[in-house]
């Protein structure tokens, strides 16, 4: 039986991508505008939000990036599928 991923997996993953994209854009902007306090405030807000999303995702679906917590002490989850290109 082909292992299929729950819809929630894709929804949460897209939510993480959205938050991380805003972080990337703001990082590039803040590199040239270091004193824009409003942008810094928005950056911190999204950084915090993105951390929460990743925490929620990893608790449910396993490690997201290298260096993520391995939540199953008896099994090395990083190596197990599905891999990003299989998702």
């Amino acid at each position: 039986m082909v292992k299929t991923l729950p819809q929630e997996y894709y929804k949460q993953l897209e939510e993480i991508q959205v938050a991380d994209f805003v972080l990337i854009e703001l990082t590039l902007y803040l590199d040239t505008h270091p004193t824009d306090m409003q942008a810094i405030q928005q950056y911190n807000q999204y950084a915090h939000y993105s951390k929460q999303l990743k925490e929620k995702f990893e608790a449910a679906f396993g490690p997201l990036e290298q260096g993520s917590l391995n939540r199953t002490p008896e099994f090395w989850a990083w190596k197990s599928g599905p891999w990003p290109w299989q998702v």
């Binding site: 938050a19 994209f21 805003v22 902007y29 040239t32 505008h33 999204y46």
Partner: protein
């Protein structure tokens, strides 16, 4: 350089010269893109932003820089081989 209202165009075109001895058929009109960042210079703070989900889809956080590419040649396919 500073043009507040959106008065610039994102695509411009020109017609290259075609001489009588040119072996190839005339190209007709050629297009090149002039993205919004050319007309902004140093980015002012607090530009209007897309919503995060929309920003991911459109590829930029600030609405000003959104520049959808639409193949001008395809649209012009009917009129000559421009």
């Amino acid at each position: 350089m500073k043009s507040n209202p959106e008065t610039f165009t994102k695509v411009k075109s020109y017609v290259p010269f075609h001489g009588p001895c040119d072996p190839c058929p005339p190209i007709g009109r050629k297009y090149y893109s002039t993205p919004p960042n050319l007309y902004l210079g140093f980015q002012p703070p607090n530009l209007p932003q897309f919503s995060p989900a929309e920003a991911l889809k459109s590829g930029t956080l600030w609405a000003f820089f959104y520049d959808f590419y639409e193949n001008p040649y395809k649209k012009r396919a009917g009129k000559g081989n421009g």
